[in-house]
């Protein structure tokens, strides 16, 4: 019992450390690497306000993907929106008192969990059914889908079939803030769920999940189309001029 609690406590410290430092490292790396040339995919916004709006449309609506493939767009969007709702719902385990908007989102979080599974199912089906997508899928692409599906299913099972003591879970996570280990319920489904979530956090900075921070640094999407008006030059290129 104490072993399990300690194991999971240290697992989550480790996962949080890897996730935060790994993602921070990549963000710093992206930010520090210069974009020496103006390469927005045109037609592109001319002003920085326009660029912000373009980015918001990409992040919220998946605008380019919508133009590219409707099936991938609908499944991808359902999954990501579901994930957002689920994440918001789960915030209640990590804050006290629970903010009012988070209370409001609770019932929607459950639908979010279902939407996640539906979206992931569609995306996974494409990896088998479309020959082009099957060709480009590596084992890791399947495993990440499996990981997310298992997280979703184990979560929904705890909600609807095998209940667990969520008061104790909250106590466990709130305790982690203060290095005060509260006992974690020893339900197998919960332990599986948490193990997979920790794994997801750990692989995040070392996998294609980097698409999340990557999008914000994509020069074809985040540059304003004003090369004739403003001279754009990278530090390493500036040195060539001396």
């Amino acid at each position: 019992m104490a072993f399990l609690t300690n194991f999971y406590a240290f697992l989550f410290y480790f996962a949080a450390l890897v996730f935060v430092s790994g993602v921070a490292f990549k963000i710093v790396q992206y930010a520090r690497t210069p974009a020496p040339l103006k390469i927005p995919t045109t037609p592109a916004p001319i002003t920085s306000t326009g660029v912000t709006l373009r980015m918001v449309r990409e992040v919220v609506l998946f605008e380019s993907l919508f133009r590219g493939n409707k099936w991938t767009w609908i499944f991808g969007w359902i999954f990501h929106f579901g994930l957002l709702l689920v994440t918001l719902r789960h915030l209640r385990y990590f804050i006290e008192p629970v903010w009012f908007p988070i209370e409001l989102v609770q019932p929607f979080g459950i639908y979010g969990g279902m939407a996640m599974i539906v979206g992931l199912g569609g995306l996974w089906a494409r990896r088998f059914l479309v020959d082009r997508v099957r060709y480009i899928s590596a084992p890791s692409d399947h495993l990440i889908l499996a990981l997310l599906v298992l997280i979703g299913i184990s979560g929904l099972l705890m909600k609807f079939v095998f209940h667990t003591d969520i008061v104790e879970i909250k106590a466990f996570f709130m305790g982690l803030y203060a290095y005060d280990f509260q006992p974690l319920p020893a339900d197998p489904l919960l332990l599986l769920h948490l193990l997979l979530v920790a794994l997801l956090l750990i692989i995040f900075p070392y996998s294609k999940l980097l698409h999340a921070p990557g999008l914000f640094f994509s020069p074809t999407r985040n540059q304003a189309d004003n090369p004739r008006e403003v001279r754009h030059i990278a530090p390493w290129a500036k040195k060539l001029e001396q």
Binding site: I39, Y206, L210, H211
Partner: protein
């Protein structure tokens, strides 16, 4: 019908997405560059010893210099949105011609040498050592990308395969594996001044001949000046414009348009080439060196404005990169953008009512317009996004009575590359060029059948050359591709100078 040693695809009403055929184009590789062409560009003449380590070092260097490369190596989730977007995939069905398939040729090497996951679990994440087989694949398939950016339009992260192809070519050049077509041409630009290797005196001769032709044709003395110090505009145009059909008809059109504008202009023997093949090989250094010639010519000729002729990738380097590579342009007239596109220049004159057209001169044609890939997706014309689509069409409408667009999915920012861009316009890649043209040929054939279109206008030297060559493979005529400014030149009503009138009178007397 031209003779082909390969199967020319059947045209279909709409371009269908083929089932994948692995290895279908594995045999397609351009000729290798010789040491003579490599060295002027600063590259080793042949494959260096220890090439593998040197290539990985170079990749590391580029990952640190180009954010695009670093982010695009990491961000792809293999969603598949790009897989049916590349004209080379649609025409060849080779899965390594799917944008993600092409990117993965580099990504698997990146993962093996630059990521924790690829170092620890290569099989799991699809990472591979940089072997000779992988290098051969690189050479083959990174020369099956025309850097047209169509994939980047549909990618949820904006991953641009062009950036990756450019980096791959730069890495290969750095270990002595260069492509003959591009590198020979760049060496020629350094030696002679333009891609076609036309020396200054030949250009002067050609332009004098052109003036005579136009005079014979119209009775008006239209000037085609070169190296004229103090002219207001420096025109930089692809060297194909100086002699080859259908390009030269565009140059004739520029001259007539300038004649009517009253703005003095000049070409330059020093900067007698708009194209910048430094971009194709992903070399900032070479791209910069080629761009500098334009700055030098502008200073020497004391011009106030720079205008670029019809050329797609050239306009990308000009519009997007010239300020970076050869700026600042503070010695030019600040009232005008630097550089301007010839279409912007002509469009402004039309807006100001300075040009008169007799549209019926073009009544023998029913037009459509091919948006050149790099103009469409990497540049702009005018003040508003999308001007690169509207301005050329406005010029066509001002000069022609009959104009129909092709299918919406194949124009504007969804346009298909002609099949010959990005350094692939060479006979040793003919099969690729013909097959890659299929999506455009399908759409063109559609408007020919349904709207009676007879001609397609383009604003890119590569597009024009490529279509002249591949149209016959699809049972069409090479003369169906024309320069946009040919339409301007044919419809424009010229104002004779007083001296010309005298000349005309003389002619009349002779006739009598």
């Amino acid at each position: 019908m031209a003779k082909a040693t390969f199967l020319v695809p059947e045209l279909t009403q709409y371009t269908e997405v083929p089932a994948i055929t692995p290895g279908a184009m594995a045999h397609s590789s351009p000729f290798f560059s010789k040491p003579d062409f490599q060295e002027p560009l600063g590259y080793p003449g042949e494959l260096v010893d220890d090439w593998q380590n040197k290539a990985i070092d170079k990749m590391g260097e580029l990952l640190g210099k180009y954010r695009s490369l670093q982010v695009y190596m990491d961000a792809c989730v293999k969603c598949g949105a790009c897989t049916d977007k590349c004209h080379y995939f649609l025409g060849t069905s080779d899965p390594k011609n799917m944008p993600v398939g092409r990117q993965d040729l580099m990504r698997k090497v990146y993962r093996r040498y630059f990521t924790v996951a690829g170092k620890l679990f290569p099989k799991l994440v699809g990472a591979e050592d940089f072997t000779k087989e992988v290098l051969d694949d690189w050479y083959s398939y990174f020369h099956q990308c025309s850097q047209c950016r169509r994939c980047s339009v549909f990618c949820p992260y904006g991953i641009d395969t062009a950036e990756i192809s450019m980096a791959a070519r730069e890495i290969m050049d750095s270990i002595g594996v260069g492509q003959k077509y591009c590198n020979e041409i760049i060496a020629k630009v350094y030696k002679v001044g333009n891609n076609l290797g036309l020396p200054g005196p030949a250009l002067v001769d050609t332009l004098e001949g052109l003036e005579e032709d136009v005079y014979d044709d119209t009775g008006v003395r239209v000037r085609y000046p070169i190296d004229q110090v103090g002219a207001e505009v420096l025109l930089v145009t692809p060297s194909a414009d100086f002699f080859a059909e259908p390009h030269v008809d565009g140059l004739i059109g520029y001259g007539k348009m300038f004649h009517e504008s009253g703005v003095t202009w000049t070409l330059s023997t020093h900067a007698s080439e708009a194209a910048n093949f430094g971009m194709f090989i992903g070399s900032y250094d070479n791209m910069r060196r080629i761009s500098q010639r334009i700055q030098e010519a502008a200073i020497k000729l004391k011009v106030k404005r720079i205008v670029f002729g019809e050329c797609g990738h050239a306009w990308r380097v000009a519009y997007s990169f010239l300020n970076t590579l050869a700026g600042p342009w503070d010695f030019l007239d600040p009232r005008y953008p630097v550089p301007q596109h010839i279409c912007e220049f002509t469009y402004d004159l039309i807006q100001q009512g300075k040009l008169t057209f007799d549209k019926s001169e073009n009544d023998d044609k029913v037009m459509t317009f091919h948006d050149s890939c790099n103009v469409a997706r990497a540049t702009r014309m005018g003040d508003t996004p999308g001007g690169q689509f509207e301005i050329p069409r406005a010029i066509i409408r001002a000069t022609c009575n009959n104009f129909y667009d092709m299918d919406e999915d194949t124009i504007r920012d969804r346009t298909f590359c002609c099949g010959g861009g990005g350094g692939l316009l060479t006979d040793d890649l003919m099969e690729l060029r013909v097959k890659g043209a299929k999506p455009r040929m399908d759409a063109l054939n559609n408007v020919i059948q349904e709207k009676g279109v007879t001609h397609m206008a383009a604003i890119c030297a590569i597009c024009k050359t490529q279509f002249s060559k591949v149209l016959p493979y699809y049972g069409m005529d090479m003369s169906q591709i024309i320069s946009l400014h040919q339409l301007v030149g044919d419809a424009i009503v010229l104002t004779p100078d007083p001296e010309d009138e005298d000349a005309n009178d003389d002619d009349d007397e002779d006739d009598d």
